[in-house]
Each structure stands twice: as structure tokens, then as C-alpha cells.
């Protein structure tokens, strides 16, 4: 029964990784930018919530409401003013730009809030301690269930947005072929800015989830980035949005089962699954099913004939 519990806890933990991974996958899928500051942006969101709670006695969920639009705007202008310029000079420059941003965010947070660890768990009331006891071996924490539920809602909303709205359609078109997108009237820079805004918004939700479930410090970002990155790669590297959700869950299960074998192996087990997927010929769980790469090659063949 402990194994069943491990898998359940792993799935729930995977929900958190999936939230952190969503924005990373979106930015990579649309713009081919690997945002190395993604984890730090999540932590920045958590600190903004913390800042509000210092002056305003309320729940972290209420404090999130004003923080979210601020972060979304931050994402929009981050793309417009920094990343868009860096995109002009190839794929390496945005990588360096986000690396620099990561360091800047970490140091600004340390200067402003100090190096101590924080947690918002205390302000969230009974949610953090509540749990459903299924039997003697299995109990499900209300917070973990809430985070997992939020992950499902975020992915479903993102999928609906991409498939059903005009902006989502343009985002997919610009992701596939930005040059042709411009030729049919799509301003790819505006589309990119919206994609980054959405990615930063979701990262903020991830930051709040992090702050509620555990402690964080100005230097927690890179760890979150690694988990997000592993989830995206396990899921098939931006080839499918749902892949990142699945990747997050696989990573979560690997970590809880690893911890069951030996508590020190928790993180290591996740890294091992990541490495196995990375070197496997399929390279990701959903790469073949999505058929994206296949489609591109087929069209390229069509144009070459």
C-alpha cells in the first residue's frame, strides 16, 4: 500500500512541477527561447505576494490577485524590451539574456528581502494542514490536491486558448513559421509578447504554489527551473503542451518512489528518469504522438519537390 501512496503523492507533486513547467514549455514552443530565469520569475512572484502580506492582513490567494496582473505586464515588457531584441541575434543570445535576468532577480530579491528562507504556508490557514485520510496508508493533503487541480485547470485553459481563440491560433502559426506568419498579417512580436506574458503569469501561480507548500529563498529559482526543465524534456520538449503535464507527473512519481527506497534518492531518481529520457532515441513521451516534427519535415519535402 505504501507504493500506491507513493504513486498518488508523486502524481500530486507532479502537479506542482507541471505548473512550473507550463510557462517554460510555452516559451520554448512558441519562440524557441529557453527561459533560464523562469524559476526566478516564479520566486519573484512569491516574494511579491509576501510583500503584500506584510502590509495587508489577508490570505495569500487574495494577495495574488493584484500581483498576477503586475507579473503579466512584467512578462509582456520583458519580451518587448529585452527578449525580442536578443532574438535578432540568434538562439544563444536570449539564453544569455535570461541567464543574466536570473542573476539580477536573485540579487534584487536578496537586497530587498534578505537571504532568509520564507514560507507563505503560515498565512494560508487550515488549507496547509488539512488532509483526507483514505486509509491507514493513504492520505491526501488538501494543498497538494488544490495544486494538482490548479495544474489541470491551467493546462486545459491553455489548450483551449491555443486551439479555440484567434490569438491562440496566431500563436501556433507564429510558432511554426514566424516568417510566413508575418506575410499573412500576423505581428509576431505582439504574439511573442503575449506568450511571454502568459508564461510569466503561470510562473507566478507556480511561485505561489511553491511558497505555500514549502520554504523558498531568493536563490530557490534555479532548483525550480531544473524541475520544470526536466518535466518539459520528459514530456517531449515543447512538442506538446500536455507532454509537460505528463512529464511533471512522471518526475513527481520518480521522486516519491526514489524517496521511498532511500530518502536521499528522491531528487536523484528524478534526475535519472530525466537522463534516461534524454538519451533515449524517442526523446520524450509525447514526441511521436504529436507528430509536430514529422509534419514540418513533410511540408519541407513538399516545398523541395
Amino acid at each position: 500500500m505504501t507504493w500506491v501512496n507513493d504513486v498518488i503523492q508523486g502524481i500530486l507533486l507532479g502537479g506542482y512541477y507541471a505548473i512550473i513547467a507550463a510557462g517554460l514549455a510555452l516559451m520554448f514552443g512558441v519562440m524557441r527561447i529557453i527561459n533560464l530565469a523562469h524559476g526566478d520569475i516564479a520566486v519573484l512572484g512569491a516574494y511579491l505576494v509576501y510583500l503584500l502580506l506584510e502590509h495587508w492582513n489577508t490570505s495569500p490567494f487574495i494577495a495574488l490577485l493584484p500581483v498576477l496582473p503586475v507579473m503579466v505586464l512584467f512578462g509582456y515588457f520583458l519580451q518587448r524590451l529585452v527578449l525580442q531584441r536578443s532574438l535578432r541575434s540568434g538562439l544563444l543570445t536570449p539564453l544569455l539574456a535570461t541567464f543574466g535576468l536570473s542573476i539580477v532577480i536573485q540579487n534584487v530579491l536578496e537586497q530587498s528581502f534578505g537571504p532568509d528562507v520564507q514560507s507563505l504556508g503560515g498565512q494560508a490557514g487550515s488549507l496547509v494542514t488539512a488532509a483526507w485520510r483514505i486509509n491507514s496508508d493513504i492520505s491526501i493533503s488538501a494543498l497538494a490536491a488544490l495544486i494538482f487541480g490548479a495544474a489541470i485547470v491551467i493546462y486545459a485553459a491553455l489548450a483551449l486558448f491555443l486551439s479555440r481563440t484567434a490569438t491562440g491560433r496566431r500563436m501556433r502559426a507564429a510558432a511554426e513559421d514566424p516568417d510566413t506568419a508575418e506575410l499573412v498579417g500576423i505581428d509576431s512580436r505582439a504574439v511573442y509578447a503575449r506568450a511571454t506574458a502568459i508564461a510569466v503569469g503561470i510562473a507566478t501561480l507556480g511561485g505561489l504554489a511553491l511558497a505555500l507548500r514549502t520554504t523558498y529563498s531568493p536563490y530557490s529559482g534555479p532548483d525550480q527551473l531544473i524541475f520544470a526543465f526536466e518535466a518539459v524534456v520528459i514530456g517531449g520538449l515543447g512538442s506538446s503542451l500536455w507532454g509537460a503535464l505528463l512529464g511533471g507527473i512522471v518526475l513527481g512519481i520518480a521522486q516519491t518512489i526514489g524517496a521511498q527506497i532511500n530518502p536521499e534518492w528522491s531528487i536523484l531518481a528524478g534526475h535519472i528518469v530525466f537522463l534516461v529520457v534524454l538519451i533515449s532515441p524517442r526523446g520524450g513521451l509525447l514526441t511521436l504522438r504529436s507528430g509536430r516534427g514529422v509534419g514540418r519535415r513533410a511540408l519541407a519535402r513538399g516545398s523541395a519537390s
Binding site: 484567434a166 491560433r169 496566431r170 501556433r172 502559426a173 511554426e176 513559421d177 516568417d179 510566413t180 506568419a181 508575418e182 506575410l183 499573412v184 498579417g185 500576423i186 505581428d187 509576431s188 507528430g291 509536430r292 514529422v294 509534419g295 514540418r296 513533410a298 511540408l299 513538399g302 516545398s303 523541395a304 519537390s305
Partner: protein
């Protein structure tokens, strides 16, 4: 007044001068066929007019406005649409979605998803299929439909029949005739010279980035074109 006026336009790929100072005026409703060997600069010229390639020198004006530095997506709104070489559809979008993405900066006009599907009946049953699953002819029809969705005043067609089965070429040209009949200005590149010249008011032959022969489609002989195409008798240069 001419709808499109290209003046001493130069387009480069790095050090290579693909288009070397060409000038061309297109009146509203005119159909011009651009012919020439591979590497003559036809595709680059069309991409320059569409805004996908920044000119090194010279100017392009459209409907009296200088658009030399206008980005491609804004030229779409003004009424310039390019059907790119190799179709370049969005592979993972459905036929309908491929059409819809072009509607954002569309001008007012008769073209919508419904009218495009009427004009290309072969696409109607494929509406919800991903573009990657289409045949070459269906892809070309979708690409032309996607350009029409913007309700263009000037449509630039690159390699219309390249890689298509003869029957598909016929279908594509048939629908082009109806587009032209509505008064759309067309600048078209095709290796199938007879077909292109049959449709066009004027034929322009390009060689190594320059215009080497300009004439009425009905008056130019095959020999004249062949000479200009391969650059055999350079005495006849200009028009």
C-alpha cells in the same frame, strides 16, 4: 496611377546581389508574369515587395504610399499578399485555421472562409484536416485561399504550379482566372511559361537580378523569351 511602383530596387543576400536595381510599375488590375531561370532573383523580388526582405537600395511604393520600410504584416493590411514558394502552410493548423489566421489584418472585401471554400470546392471536405495531410494541389489552393483571406489588391504568386500534378495546375489556374476577373492585380512567377504568359498582360524576364525583356504576353515569341531566359542574345536587352 500605378498601384505598385518599384524604383531601382536592390535586394541582397549577404554579399550576393539577388536583385540589381529593377524598376517596375503595375497598374491596378494588371497581370504580370515574371519568368527567369533559377537564381534570377524572382522569389527575392516578390519577397521584397511583400516586405519579407529589406531592400539595400531603391524604393517600393504602393497606392502612392512609400512602403520601402513597412513591415510585412502592415503591408498585408494595405492590400499586398504573397503566396510563397513551397506554399509554406502552417502544417499543424487545419485548412480552416490556415485561412483564419490570415483574417486578422484583412481588408474589407468579399473573401471569407466561406467564399474561399466556394472558390476552391476541393477544400470544402478538408476543412478540418491538418494542412500537413493535404496533397500538393490542395496545399497550393489553401495557400492561395489564405492570401485571398486578406482581400488583397495585389497578390504575389511564387511558383504557382511547381510540384503540382497537371490536373491540379489546371484547377489552380482556373481559380486564378476568377480572381483576376475581379480586378485583383497579380504579379506571378511560374516555370510554366506558356500558362503564365497566357494569363498575363505583360511578361517580364529576369536574368541575374535584372530585367532583360519586357513585353506584352501576346506579342513575345517563344524564341525571344528563351534567349532572354538563358541570356543568349544580350543585344535585345531592355524594353
Amino acid at each position: 496611377m500605378s498601384l505598385l511602383a518599384i524604383d531601382s530596387l536592390e535586394l541582397r543576400h549577404g554579399l550576393l546581389e539577388a536583385v540589381r536595381g529593377v524598376s517596375l510599375d503595375l497598374a491596378e488590375g494588371e497581370v504580370v508574369a515574371l519568368v527567369g531561370a533559377n537564381g534570377a532573383g524572382k522569389t527575392t523580388l516578390l519577397r521584397g515587395v511583400a516586405g519579407a526582405h529589406r531592400p539595400a537600395a531603391g524604393s517600393i511604393s504602393f497606392d502612392g504610399a512609400d512602403v520601402t520600410r513597412t513591415p510585412a504584416f502592415k503591408r498585408v493590411k494595405m492590400g499586398i499578399a504573397l503566396v510563397p514558394e513551397g506554399r509554406r502552410l502552417f502544417a499543424n493548423l487545419t485548412v480552416e485555421e490556415n485561412l483564419l489566421v490570415a483574417a486578422q489584418r484583412s481588408r474589407p472585401g468579399r473573401w471569407s472562409v466561406d467564399t474561399v471554400l466556394e472558390a476552391f470546392p476541393m477544400l470544402a471536405p478538408l476543412r478540418r484536416q491538418r494542412a500537413v495531410t493535404l496533397s500538393g494541389g490542395e496545399q497550393q489552393a489553401t495557400a492561395i485561399g489564405r492570401a485571398l483571406m486578406t482581400n488583397p489588391r495585389l497578390i504575389l504568386l511564387d511558383e504557382v504550379s511547381l510540384g503540382l500534378a497537371p490536373v491540379a495546375v489546371e484547377a489552380v489556374y482556373e481559380s486564378l482566372r476568377s480572381v483576376i476577373a475581379e480586378g485583383t492585380t497579380v504579379l506571378l512567377v511560374d516555370q510554366d511559361f506558356t500558362r503564365a504568359a497566357g494569363l498575363a498582360d505583360h511578361v517580364v524576364c529576369m536574368l541575374e537580378g535584372r530585367f532583360v525583356l519586357v513585353g506584352k504576353g501576346s506579342e513575345l515569341t517563344r524564341e525571344q523569351i528563351t534567349e532572354a531566359y538563358f541570356g543568349l542574345g544580350r543585344a535585345e536587352v531592355g524594353a
